[in-house]
Symmetry: C2
């Protein structure tokens, strides 16, 4: 995108802790708030009206802020935290490392049957396996049932945008839209004022707000992204470009897996994408690779110099691993080659 | 400083989570590490050799990372956390909000006598009262005694640099050097490798590292600062300029307090400053204002539209408050005026 995304920050800019004292989330830069709303509006993946936007140091900090907020507002503590396996393994660390008395990680939501307040983390498309998810603990009349929707990957280069999501707490992250992980910018769209307030309180004590430099750069880049949504050209429209790249990688990977008889990959149903206006496939950010043999797939891959996250860490089994589909071109091609060589043995 | 501190960041810069995989703190930008070392070298306020530098989202995140690290390495949990009153009131929130089972806030270090492992937070110059501090819980032969030195205000515009500090864990923050609070950049100088590792682990789970945009901007500005240290001119040398500004404000405040007979301010001894090469006074970032009358000073000030932090929140009494000396010129002058009017009543 050349110079369109360049930002220049003068020495005297962005010095204060405060961005907008009239906003409940007073450390959120107004231009970032606008850019977030505009991008969701252009893509149609989430409702932003009648919601509070809370900015975080990545969605990592926001997920913890949301769990903290819901727990402090729950009738009793500790609150159970669950996610349906296979789940994002980092949820385990996030909910255990400070040994909080406010919540307990209770593991796989499929087998959860504890009484009392609980929070279900729903990641859709799911990390690590790319499936479309809804809640699996169904206690619809239960006031103590809370849900955090992690929509990090709900963008049109990865998955068909089938509906405009409008859940109570929705998490998004800059890093999984354009790859700007170094900026550490995430945001939450939050319906309930008290929950938003508690999340803001958490972020104040945790880090007194969020980098302003990252916020203004994110705003700039999201604005450019939104502009490109209007373009019909594949080289100009970011999501078109990204979808073609993901498609290419997935086709190559599926080809290697098909040639082999050793591995498995999930199949994803086509669905009508409101953004592209046609029926489309899913090209998740991670491949949830399985083996047909009775082996420890993570160790096997590591022996062949392929880095991955073991399925067991995600609440699954030794026969599955998570591999990134977002690596640099050279790394991705090396991965394909090494995988192709493995099948030969 | 005009354009000397301007940074320009292109769209494709700083995208990765990683800054330097060979560094224990792999999310620390090498140029920031260099800038930190060079500035401490030029100012002479802290030893950086044979230490690990851990970057954080403000020293707020680092203080929590350090408490977390020391607690996970302690023989038993919970570890007691104390600070000598009057203390930085935020320490209370930082050590209680997640209700961790790893540590407990035990309040004023002066009255602390609990057995078992403990961490003493030593802030010097102290926030809120500007005094020079050392540890007050003295158990020198105790393996379970750990200290975190918060040197946020140990810079030559505030206080004479009397020695090159070389403690085990020393915290610094960009916000209190130049006022760039919005960048949320702090750093810890850490002697022990295991402690540094655990701090890095904490920051990984808490926020997967620290904004790269803030890091490169901080590096740029610290480099300019360091360059100005060579200048004899008061308008070019940042710390000279800052010291003159602080001196001017303190003299004005002392004048108002002297005219009145209602208020008190601490006196600070002169000391030889190695940076300026002469004996100098202290001009702390906060005024620890007291009243001679039996009143609730914070309420009294608020009635006169002066914002402050109540002494009780800092482990002190109703007769003291903390007032910022770093406000904008107009706000500071309004403060002086309102204070002068109060004495008349």
């Amino acid at each position: 995108m050349g110079d369109r995304c360049t930002v220049t920050i003068r020495g005297c800019d962005l010095m204060s802790y405060f961005s907008d004292m009239t906003n409940l989330c007073w450390f959120l830069e107004p231009e970032l708030e606008d850019a977030i709303k505009n991008l969701h509006g252009a893509v149609g993946n989430a409702a932003t009206e009648d919601r509070y936007i809370v900015v975080g140091t990545g969605s990592t900090q926001l997920c913890q802020a949301a769990i903290h907020a819901l727990s402090s507002l729950a009738g009793t503590n500790p609150v159970s935290v669950v996610a349906a396996a296979p789940f994002y393994s980092t949820y385990v660390e996030e909910t255990t490392y400070v040994r909080s008395g406010m919540y307990n990680w209770e593991g796989d939501a499929w087998s959860f049957d504890k009484k009392g307040p609980y929070i279900e983390l729903v990641t859709s498309p799911n990390n690590p396996d790319g499936t479309i998810r809804e809640t699996v603990v169904n206690r619809p009349d239960d006031d103590e049932a809370k849900v955090i929707h992690d929509f990090a990957y709900y963008w049109p280069h990865y998955t068909p945008i089938t509906r405009r999501q409008d859940h109570d707490i929705m998490l998004f992250t800059f890093s999984k839209i354009t790859g700007h992980a170094g900026s550490r910018i995430g945001w939450a769209l939050v319906k309930d004022k008290e929950v938003a307030k508690k999340m803001v309180e958490y972020i104040i004590v945790n880090s007194i707000g969020v980098s302003k430099e990252s916020q203004v750069r994110t705003a700039k880049i999201l604005n450019v992204l939104k502009e490109t949504c209007k373009s019909e050209s594949e080289s100009d429209n970011f999501f078109k470009y990204g979808r073609e790249m993901m498609k290419d990688r997935w086709e190559k990977l599926r080809e290697v897996v098909k040639e082999s008889d050793a591995f498995t990959l999930p199949k994803y149903p086509e669905a009508f994408c409101n953004y592209f206006g046609k029926s489309l496939e899913s090209y998740p950010a991670f491949a949830w690779l399985g083996t047909k043999e009775e082996t420890d797939l993570a160790s096997e891959l590591r022996r062949h110099k392929v880095l991955c996250r073991a399925g067991e860490r995600c609440g699954s089994d030794k026969k599955h691993v998570r591999v990134s589909m977002l690596s640099r071109e050279d790394d991705f091609n090396a991965f394909l080659e090494r995988l192709a060589n493995m099948k030969a043995h």
